[in-house]
């Protein structure tokens, strides 16, 4: 009998439902309540009159106009090609820097990578990824991935960045 009792480790104590699940919340609430300071309930931000009423139409109009401009979503299959295009764009940027040192050496030496990034971001690099692929087909075929990409990483990339191309 005594042996059975020793093996039964239940001590009879009970916890309120989801006690540990709510522990941090309760603790932080207690800490906040003890503080004399209270944060304001509102942020103070406002929107123009009728902003939300007209928002849907503006978004749908924008999508329609993009459709008419013939843009389409690139498929996952072409992601390697895009990555190659980005790499080639960088090669071109670097080539540009190397080609012109005799004409504007000082200015080019002062060109920061941020300037180059902004130049590309602002759309001044008037080459499509297709053009870049054509120009640097040999170099692109030499590019090898040292890290394999899983599907989730590729999808995250596509969701985070605009990957569009013109209709052929």
């Amino acid at each position: 009998m005594k042996k059975d009792f020793l093996h039964n480790k239940k001590d009879g104590f009970k916890l309120p439902e989801d006690y540990f699940g709510k522990f941090e919340d309760n603790l932080f609430n207690t800490v906040s309540e003890k503080s004399d300071f209270h944060l304001p309930d509102t942020s103070g931000f406002e929107v123009p009159h009728n902003y939300f009423e007209t928002l849907e139409d503006r978004i749908l109009t924008k999508i329609q106009s993009e459709k008419h401009q013939g843009q389409k979503v690139k498929s996952l299959k072409t992601v390697k090609y895009i990555l190659g295009g980005i790499a080639a764009a960088l090669i071109i940027s670097l080539s540009i820097i190397n080609i012109k040192p005799t004409t504007a050496e000082d200015e080019l030496n002062n060109l920061s990578s941020t300037d180059v990034e902004n130049y590309i971001d602002d759309g001044y690099l008037s080459l499509s990824s297709y053009d870049i692929g054509e120009l640097f087909s040999d170099e692109i075929s030499d590019i090898s991935m040292t890290t394999s990409l899983d599907d989730d990483a590729i999808i995250d990339y596509l969701v985070t960045y605009d990957i569009t191309q013109e209709e052929p």
């Binding site: 932080f28 406002e46 929107v47 902003y51 749908l60 979503v73 996952l76």
Partner: protein, 180 residues
Amino acid sequence: MVQEELFIQALQKKETQEQAFKQLVSQYKERLYWHVRRIVLDHDDADDVLQNTFIKIFRNIHTFKGDSALYSWMYRIATNEALTFLNQKARKSGISNEELQDNLIKNLEADVYFEGEEIQLKLQKAISKLPEKQRLVFNMKYFEEMKYEDMSQILDTSVGALKASYHHAVKKLEDYLTEN
């Protein structure tokens, strides 16, 4: 859940896509707007980011596999768009993200779409001093009253870490506001 699956199918089918997308915009526009606005602070910037967010959702809906709730997938896109927007803005101005936050707060003082009292302006100033993750967590929990479980999916962070972040953020804000 079944209803959401049907809705996603409607969003992905060409014939039903437009109608379903209208419904999606109507349902989420305000929530996503306020989420974005609290990150970028300025109304016009929030409007740009929100429109880009919905366009991105529209373009990429066919890649949505339903591994997470549609709601958290959209919030992830909105958050990424807003943060990318701020990073680009800082880079184009040739300033750090911290300097950009200071500038945004300065602009807020003269913003016609900010009607906050002094305490609200001070709070925004204090929030802008927080690290990016804590800033997001605080806004999502305090103003948007989002559940930690939903935030965990959006920010890809454990519930425990989010609770700790929120607690640290509140503590820092209280300290800042008490001192200033």
